[in-house]
Symmetry: C2
Subunit: 220 residues, 2 copies
């Protein structure tokens, strides 16, 4: 799997999303270009990585079949959601369900606690945490909420792998260290702070200020 370059993985993820939203209909090459903003040769190249990945250690015949699937999935008729989505999921290791929690239940945290679009099968919201016990008791939530001091216990008990870190910037490092000690393996960091954590913990930063900057750079 490491042979798929990181930017190609991110593009495949986004292509998968567009395929999912196409109501089962094939996405033509031209439509895919408009939706993603990438040239069709980039999309074809990304899809070509899937041929070998879906058949690890496969024979030449099997590899040939793999390429066949990809050619078929990306033929003149367009990219077929039914064929391509499972192949992308498997190649990217998204074919098992992971539990996550929301840490910090201020405005942003409570928004993500009640977000409409987690239901992809791959992720299961399992808990929310906040230092404010009062907030934990009164907040509307689809999952159980706990005071922050119970983090290690609850994360261990429910095998929670991922945390959405929604605390204020000045609390982020301390809370992230506690999550690391509790056994969290990945953090989606919404707090405006750079985290310094052990390398076995994967961090992905979602800074709205950086997203604005990235948008502005592309706007020119």
């Amino acid at each position: 799997m490491t042979a798929i370059p990181e930017p190609a993985k991110e593009r495949l993820l986004q292509l998968m999303r567009f395929l999912e939203q196409n109501n089962g209909a094939p996405l033509t090459s031209a439509e895919a270009e408009v939706l993603t903003g990438w040239p069709s040769c980039t999309i074809r190249k990304d899809i070509s990585y899937l041929a070998d990945k879906t058949l690890p250690g496969g024979t030449a015949e099997e590899a040939g079949e793999g390429e066949g699937v990809c050619r078929k999935a990306g033929s003149a008729a367009g990219y077929s959601p039914g064929q391509l989505i499972p192949v992308i999921k498997k190649a990217l290791g998204l074919d098992r369900r992971r539990r996550f929690c929301v840490v910090g239940l201020g405005r942003l945290g409570s928004a993500y606690l009640n977000f409409e679009a987690y239901e992809l099968g791959e992720f299961e919201l399992a808990a929310g945490f906040d230092t404010n016990v009062n907030r934990v008791e009164i907040l509307k939530s689809p999952v159980p909420l706990y005071p922050a001091y119970k983090m290690a216990e609850v994360i261990g008990r429910f095998s929670i792998e991922i945390a959405l870190l929604c605390v204020p910037g000045d609390a982020a490092q301390t809370v992230a260290e506690k999550l690391a000690a509790a056994g969290i393996r990945g953090i989606l960091n919404f707090a405006p702070a750079a985290l310094k954590l052990p390398p076995d913990l994967t961090v992905r930063n979602v800074y709205v200020a950086d997203e604005l900057r990235a948008l502005a750079v592309r706007m020119g």
Copy 2:
């Protein structure tokens, strides 16, 4: 500016953020590697793009100076925030202030309306919009809020360039089309929907489900 590859631009943005958070101290090459997760050769390569960009149409001597600045900014002593941040900003076109608005003031929209970390000088929150007039009247906000039917008028009056789209997924396309007609040039799309818009409008999707997937792919 188009000569800087898109992935390099995104990395430079994130490097700039880490430099900003280092309290004015130089960031050593080793620290930059740990913070960003990129090998130091990638960071050096990205910085090398800045040499020519900061001196458009410069003479050979000037270009030499430019390279000197970059070498100096990235010497053994580390990357100097004071030297590097302004060069990155200028090269990426972030040296002018842009106005933005929040559209859709549910949980997520009201979180971003009151977010702590916009104060970068580059972006100015100017307004919020919602179809629910009651919500517009009672919501706490640092900027004026307007009913959605006033969008075109307010966006034009205050020269708002960017919209944070925080409406539900099933309303996103319709609202985005109204924003396009109102003259918005860039949309940061938080709604779980793929937007089909004219090519002169730049869209950047921030799907939490895709962020979770991207994190999971890196976690392995």
